[in-house]
């Protein structure tokens, strides 16, 4: 079953600016862990942000969970965003808040203004937060400030925050680029394990081809805003990589 379908997606940041995405099309199935690979500046981050409209596309069609994303009004868009967990390269945590508050902020889409003002989340949300904090191994750090944690721990907070949304899709924007190789593997394994456990498909921007091959069942290759490859991981050949990265693969 297709969870996400993107057709002829086009993006320009300004009317006269260069076209960042030049007509991208792909599908994401409900059991996919899809890697989006490509060199810096290929448009991977822009593409992933179009899916929940953090970036407004200038052309094409996005159908997510059966809804035409580009046609949604602001309140409908917020309701759709609740269903899409996002994890970022730079974690994007709120540094001056506690780990607990950061994780609870994943519930904002389900929380009213008055509760948000006093950061008074329902008991059920707190129990859920404690469960996911335990799941990502941060039970001992609940009350610490987010900026007191190490990189790997911060990304785990980011993962717990995304899971709080009870997502139907995970968007991962270079989740391991700020981490060292060992922690990168741990974090990828954790995300994949949870995604499989919850039966949630994921779209993962990643520039580390090795990690992509290791964890993802499908790969889409992007270069300069154009799709250069789309297929099962096993079918990715060196000459495909050569074309995506336009360089010799050692």
């Amino acid at each position: 079953m297709s969870v996400l379908s993107v057709k002829d997606l086009r993006v320009r940041y300004s009317a006269n600016g260069p076209e960042i995405l030049k007509g991208i099309s792909f599908e994401l199935q409900s059991d996919d862990f899809l890697a989006m690979i490509g060199p810096s500046g290929a448009g991977k981050s822009t593409l992933i942000r179009c899916i929940n409209r953090l970036v407004e596309p200038t052309g094409g069609e996005i159908v997510l969970l059966g809804e035409d994303v580009r046609a949604l009004r602001p309140s409908e868009l917020r309701r759709l965003r609740r269903n899409v967990g996002m994890i970022f390269q730079e974690f994007n945590l709120i540094n001056r808040m506690s780990v607990m508050d950061n994780v609870l902020s994943g519930r904002l889409g389900y929380t009213g203004n008055l509760r948000s003002l006093f950061r008074h989340f329902p008991k059920k949300d707190i129990e859920k937060a404690l469960y996911y904090l335990d799941r990502v191994g941060l039970t001992d750090h609940v009350d610490k400030r987010a900026d007191a944690l190490s990189g790997g721990q911060r990304q785990r907070v980011g993962i717990a925050r995304a899971l709080m949304q009870t997502p139907k899709l995970l968007l991962l924007d270079e989740p391991t680029s700020a981490l060292d190789p060992k922690i990168s593997r741990e974090v990828m394994a954790l995300i994949m394990g949870i995604a499989k456990e919850l039966g949630v498909p994921a779209l993962c921007n990643i520039h580390d081809v090795q990690l992509a091959k290791e964890f993802c069942n499908r790969i889409v290759g992007l270069q300069d805003g154009v799709k250069k490859f789309d297929g099962e991981t096993a079918t990715l050949r060196d000459r495909d990589l050569e074309e995506i990265y336009a360089m010799e693969v050692l």
Partner: protein
């Protein structure tokens, strides 16, 4: 993006380097020259006599020595006047609090990056802050005095407007400088713009806002003496009365008391702001 590893094009290395090259250097030196020429022209045009200015400085000291000295210190220690100092303090405090409270939402509306509504609330927020700034505090006082009559209410209202303009601009600059990463993350969870403001913006600007609020009170206290002069009550009112009655020795003492209170306010504000920064 289009440069590929191992294929970077090399060009001839230049032999020399200078910080300002021809077209830019002409602009820089031309601008400095123009400022100097304009200054000289203005002085000549207005017949500014530097010698007279220095002469007048001596005259000023003479006037102060003969008319305002010795200041009537007993007058400023009188209970009525001391109460007016307290009035001024309360005016600046109330005006500062109300101004800061109103400036926060206006600053939020008028910060382009997180404004809740770019087409309606953004221009309204900007308009609010700019119009509060555009009118000087003395003019606000005159306006409010004409509507509300003489006294503290008019003074507090004028100070509130002054503080909205002062703090609103600083607040919105601060909001526009936040790290957009957390903002993006909160938007991605489906949070609305109020929730984004509360969770992604407020934690980042809280310390700076506290510092600005204290500074606003300090500036409002100074403005409060002027506001009083134009009918807003407090120390400025006493100043005006004594100036009009030519009670120069009392005027001297009042000015001294204003200087002393402003110094105290500045000291307290500086100390508080340093404490806030340490608590970061």
């Amino acid at each position: 993006m289009t440069e590929h590893a191992g294929r970077i094009q090399r060009s001839q290395a230049p032999k020399t380097w200078s910080r300002y090259r021809f077209p830019e250097s002409l602009w820089r030196f031309g601008a400095v020259l123009a400022i100097i020429v304009f200054l000289g022209y203005s002085m000549a045009f207005m017949n500014v006599d530097i010698g007279l200015l220095f002469g007048a400085l001596g005259g000023l000291l003479g006037v102060i020595g003969t008319r305002f000295y010795p200041p009537d210190i007993a007058y400023v220690l009188d209970a009525g006047y001391l109460a007016s100092i307290l009035d001024t303090l309360q005016m600046s405090f109330l005006g500062g609090m109300a101004g800061v409270a109103l400036a926060i939402p206006l600053a939020w509306f008028s910060a382009w990056n997180v404004s809740p509504h770019r087409r309606v609330l953004f221009p309204l927020g900007r308009l609010g802050v700019i119009s509060a700034r555009a009118i000087h505090e003395t003019i606000w006082t005159i306006l409010f005095v004409s509507v509300l009559g003489f006294g503290m209410l008019a003074g507090v209202s004028a100070l509130t407007m002054f503080c909205i303009g002062f703090a609103g601009k600083l607040f919105s600059d601060e909001i526009e400088a936040v790290d957009m990463g957390p903002v993006e993350a909160m938007r991605a969870t489906g949070a609305n713009s109020l929730q984004v403001f509360l969770f992604a913006v407020v934690p980042q600007v809280r310390v700076a806002f506290t510092g600005i609020a204290i500074y606003t009170w300090d500036v409002a206290f100074r403005a409060a003496t002027v506001v009083g002069f134009f009918g807003g009550g407090g120390m400025g009112w006493y100043l005006k009365r004594n100036v009009q009655q030519l009670e120069n020795l009392r005027v001297g003492a009042i000015i001294l008391s204003i200087i002393a209170m402003v110094l105290v306010a500045e000291f307290i504000s500086g100390w508080l702001r340093a404490a806030v920064n340490r608590a970061k």
